[in-house]
Subunit: 329 residues, 2 copies
């Protein structure tokens, strides 16, 4: 089948896979221009550096199809060279500890996205699962300023509402919620309420729409038509420019990894995260989004739903690229 | 001069000195039974372990006058052997990162006090200098339970008000504010409001009264009579059993250390902590408390102020000992 997006920018704003050649080839064959990949959740400084080293080796080994991108020029160059651009990100601020100076170190290693929190409170702000969200702390103010100065995207996925609102207000550069959906689509603690979405887009912020079952209406039984209707509603709410895809695709992991994602090292008891029936298994993906290359299914469904080709193409990646131009350069 | 407390327990609930033989000899000659010493403020896991190693060497080198105490039996034994018992504590939770399992590690190295926060927010709770105090976080609940189980004292010095109230409520063992004064005595962010003091003592908690100038009425010009009046007012408010001394004595440091205490690694800008006139120097101690052995001045002044010998002796140390019996064993 011919890829109608062959000449366009396709960006997935977050994936966390147990990467291997097969998965990378799927992205490459699917025509992905760039993918923001999660390096760590709960890891400390040293562990994060080791994970980055592993990525450096992975990129070298697969240099025929992937390349490391540190800015939008790198992404455009990757597209020209028929490679998938890999953008490094942290889904937590654990690796920087309480140390403002570590941001520069990780920036120099290629970090371009950092979530301030992952479900739980950090020294920077409140997580979406906390009973009380502090908002952005004293350290958090310093961290956001430093991320702005360096060119690391402030990622508010998994943050609490007050932390989102504070960060949108404080940050001098636009901020992202790399992987979540609107709360009006599915009532999850991870999804984002309308007032936050509006303030985000008013400051040229960005949301990458998630395909993780717990963020979807009817979870893995979500119909692609419902997803597209949500996109249309969201365009009406905040405009087209702030919207992209951040699939949150987690492929090829054993179930113990979803348990680790939720529990890290912070509790000796079992925390079930977003699962309401205490599942300790990975949720099943909707049939229409099971691998990175399935992003084409979303494009086709958006067109079918009545969204213009021009707008669908923006959602597929050029919006992300513009946002990144304004943030990481 | 004969020491009227020679046969009694004298405990200082917090000191942070640049320790040397002379300072240790002052404690020993002053008849101090035990001192809780601060090992770290902003240090990470590895740095904290290194600081503990330095203390182990210091204890070995000065074993004729000091000894490491891990419980109240060790303190009583030290008294019998005419040595000053050293109790290890952290003034922050930075060394345990986001890792519940590190508490056991540090417990095994002798840690018996841990502050949840130092002025700023941590993954556990809110600091006293934060605009918004989250209270105890999800991780914080786990940490307090683990500290209770192991026998590490939950120290709420430098915590925000909500964090204090939450911790008092959550903790199954009594908690301490090792070094602070009542807010009614001096209106400082570091001092403690009456409602917190009452709830603290209702659950057999403890406050060590501070001699750090910024916590004192009129700072270093504080009269010892005013300090003793505060003690009497505090006894009226919460009863005698919850009260001791936690001098917060910081001796023999260069001024750059007070700057580091305030700024750690969390900001590139200068933070002045409790100093309202932007001083970057150590505040001068009141004339009547300049070294650890000056605790005798407080005893004498308490007696002079009309407090009974029995009660003054309790404040000097036996209250701390009873509290520790209930917490570290």
């Amino acid at each position: 089948m011919k890829n109608p997006l062959k000449n366009h920018i396709l960006i997935d704003g977050l994936q966390y896979c147990n990467w291997n050649r097969k998965i990378l080839e799927d992205l490459w064959q699917g025509g992905l221009t760039a993918v923001h990949v999660t390096i760590v959740y709960w890891e400390n400084t040293e562990e994060a550096i080791n994970k980055i080293k592993k990525w450096q080796i992975r990129i070298k080994k697969n240099k025929d199809i992937i390349t490391h991108a540190k800015n939008t020029d790198d992404i455009i160059k990757a597209k020209k060279n028929n490679k998938v651009a890999i953008i490094f990100g942290f889904q937590n601020s654990a690796p920087i500890e309480n140390n403002i100076f570590l941001l520069e170190k990780f920036y120099s290693l290629g970090l371009r996205f950092m979530q301030l929190t992952y479900n739980n409170q950090t020294a920077i702000g409140g997580g979406c699962f906390e009973a009380v969200d502090s908002g952005i702390s004293r350290f958090g103010h310093q961290v956001i300023e430093e991320m702005n100065n360096l060119g690391i995207i402030v990622d508010l996925s998994h943050a609490g509402k007050k932390t989102c609102l504070d960060a949108i207000k404080i940050s001098k550069k636009p901020v992202a919620i790399s992987h979540a959906n609107p709360f009006f689509f599915h009532k999850s603690k991870r999804n984002i309420e309308n007032d936050v979405l509006k303030k985000l887009s008013n400051k040229n912020g960005f949301i990458g729409l998630s395909l993780y079952p717990y963020h979807l209406k009817n979870h893995n039984k979500c119909k692609i038509e419902d997803f597209c209707q949500m996109v249309k509603d969201l365009i009406n709410l905040i405009g087209i420019e702030s919207i992209g895809i951040g699939s949150d695709l987690c492929s090829n992991w054993k179930d113990e990894v979803v348990v680790w994602m939720r529990n890290g090292k912070w509790t000796k008891k079992l925390d079930y995260g977003e699962s309401k029936n205490k599942s300790i298994k990975w949720p099943t993906q909707p049939q229409w989004f099971r691998k990175g290359s399935d992003i084409i299914n979303i494009y086709n469904a958006l067109i079918k739903s009545g969204i213009s080709e021009k707008n669908a193409i923006k959602i597929m990646g050029s919006n992300w690229l513009n946002f990144m131009k304004n943030t990481i350069g």
